[in-house]
Amino acid sequence: MIKLSSISKRYEGASAPVVDGIDMEVGAGEICVLLGPSGCGKTTTLKMINRLIQPSSGKIFIDGRDTDEFEVVELRRQIGYVIQQIGLFPNMTVEENISVVPRLLGWDKARAKRRAAELMEIVALDPSTYLSRYPKDLSGGQQQRVGVARALATDPPVMLMDEPFGAIDPINRELIQDEFLRIQQQVKKTIMFVSHDIDEAVKMADRIAIFRGGRLEQFDTPDTILARPASPFIAGFVGADRALKRLRLVRASDALSACDCAARVGDSSERARALLERHGVEQIVLLDAAGKPQGYLSAAELSAIEGTLMAAHAKPVQGVARHSDDLRSVISSMFSLGQSWLATVDDEGRFVGYVNQAHIVDMLRLPAEARA
């Protein structure tokens, strides 16, 4: 969808180029995060895509078309653009801000108005409350939602985002990132996203491009970058806790083990003991008729029980993981509960398997692709 071919930028009189021979390709519907320390050329690279900065050499293609073929304002109107400082026009209402590009493209008022209301729904702001407000009457997070809505106004296939959530406080940043990923599920844009925050990159990206001194150091999936950093620089940049960061990339549902190792109320204790032995675990979860965890039993406790298992036999479950939780939060609850495993449930609260520390350690030895 977006293809950069030997893109370089050299400023007059500067000894080294700011961007030096970047080759990369981003597929349709992907989020590609350009990551690196300040001055690494990531923002320059981004701005060359909508020609806010003209490349010194090289070509950029969007959907197979050379961007130099377009009239520059035409090109920009086809690319959503979101910046860190948001840049909503203070003299215009939220509605007018969102309608700027549609109106430039000659949409009639009614259509632009409908579209603005539709976009407000998408970014989870109530249209009847907010469309008539001015930017100064919104909080930073709300302003950036409007910024995103403005970029989406004409439904461009490509969006460029320059540290869009960098100026938002950490709590709201997490919220707006989640929100944005939800929107992306819906709109499936091809997105180039500049960030200097490895955590944000890991969270948002399908692919991460790490820049250093104007060059592309590594261009890969977040998991591979964390598991197999291509250079000591990248290893240092992603941080010594990179293995822990990978935990965020894996959902509990992808790390399940011993999925059939569960006893039901009414089962015989022998059957439960047999399951325990087969899986070589210490404890077994006791489920009710609906498949919801009632409690757990250890091998020793099981051997003391004769006949059928009853809910009263089990020790209460301290905590469960949800199948959609990421492993970082699952492991965090394991640590706080002092357990090495956690029963995992689906959205209805039914048992689906265990997340087990030993199993996770095993999994993380390989990058995701190698596991598959």
Partner: protein
């Protein structure tokens, strides 16, 4: 009391002089707006040009008005306009340059660069950016410059009575030459009142021209902001977990 009586007795002629005064200032400043605002915008593109223009305007401002009138007499006499309306309007036009050009320049250069980048990035042409974003935002500050020019020139126009410009300055000059304190005081008071009225009226226009989104938040606006933040906090699913 005598002054008041004089003003009442000569009510019609005072009105006529006031209208004249307003006319002179209006034409001078009006022409200055038409040229000064575009000039102020154009020089934002070039720092060197801006420096030259702003310095020149500042130097113009330091020339005493009497001297300027004197300088223009021989020049404009060539076309038979050495005194009267034309040199006065030219002088007021020149004295208006500094407040108008400088305010326009400052207003445009002080616009948040992020707005310019956003405008460029979403595909506005330079002209669209200027008309839809930069000028509306700059308007209150440009208007403040106009206001300043008008107030300054109400005073300067009074001096122009000496080169036969008419207006309220006539009362003052006659008061001096005829040793008539009634005319002198009436003229001085009326010039001051006119300046105050113009400043007040233009201040109102300035507020009117300020885009709603840039006016300082009203009490209701702040309340709405707080309520909105509270409502979205309540609605957010992340807090429900």
């Amino acid at each position: 009391m005598e002054t008041l009586a004089f003003m009442l007795d000569n009510f019609a002629s005072i009105i006529r002089l006031t209208v004249e005064h307003v006319e002179i200032v209006g034409v001078g400043v009006g022409l200055a707006i038409v040229t000064g605002v575009p000039l102020g915008i154009v020089i934002t593109a070039n720092a060197r040009a801006a420096k030259i223009v702003l310095y020149s305007a500042a130097i113009l401002m330091t020339i005493p008005s009497v001297a300027l009138f004197g300088l223009m007499i021989p020049v404009l006499s060539v076309i038979g306009q050495g005194i009267g309306f034309l040199p006065t309007v030219i002088a007021l036009f020149l004295y208006s340059q500094l407040p108008i050009v400088r305010n326009t320049y400052a207003a445009i250069t002080n616009i948040d660069p992020a707005l310019r980048e956003a405008a460029r990035g979403i595909g506005m042409t330079t002209r669209q950016r200027l008309w839809k974003v930069e000028i509306p935002i700059a308007l209150p500050i440009i208007m403040a410059g106009v206001r300043m020019a008008v107030v300054i020139n109400v005073g300067i126009a009074a001096v122009a009575a000496y080169i036969g410009a008419g207006g309220l300055g006539k009362l003052i000059s006659r008061g001096i030459s005829q040793s008539d304190p009634r005319q002198l005081i009436a003229g001085a008071i009326l010039v001051s009142l006119l300046a105050i009225a113009a400043d007040y009226g233009l201040g109102w226009v300035q507020r009117l021209l300020t885009p709603k989104g840039l006016r300082s938040p009203s009490r209701t606006g702040r309340l709405a902001l707080r309520l909105g933040a509270w409502a979205s906090f309540r609605k957010s699913p992340h807090h429900a977990q």
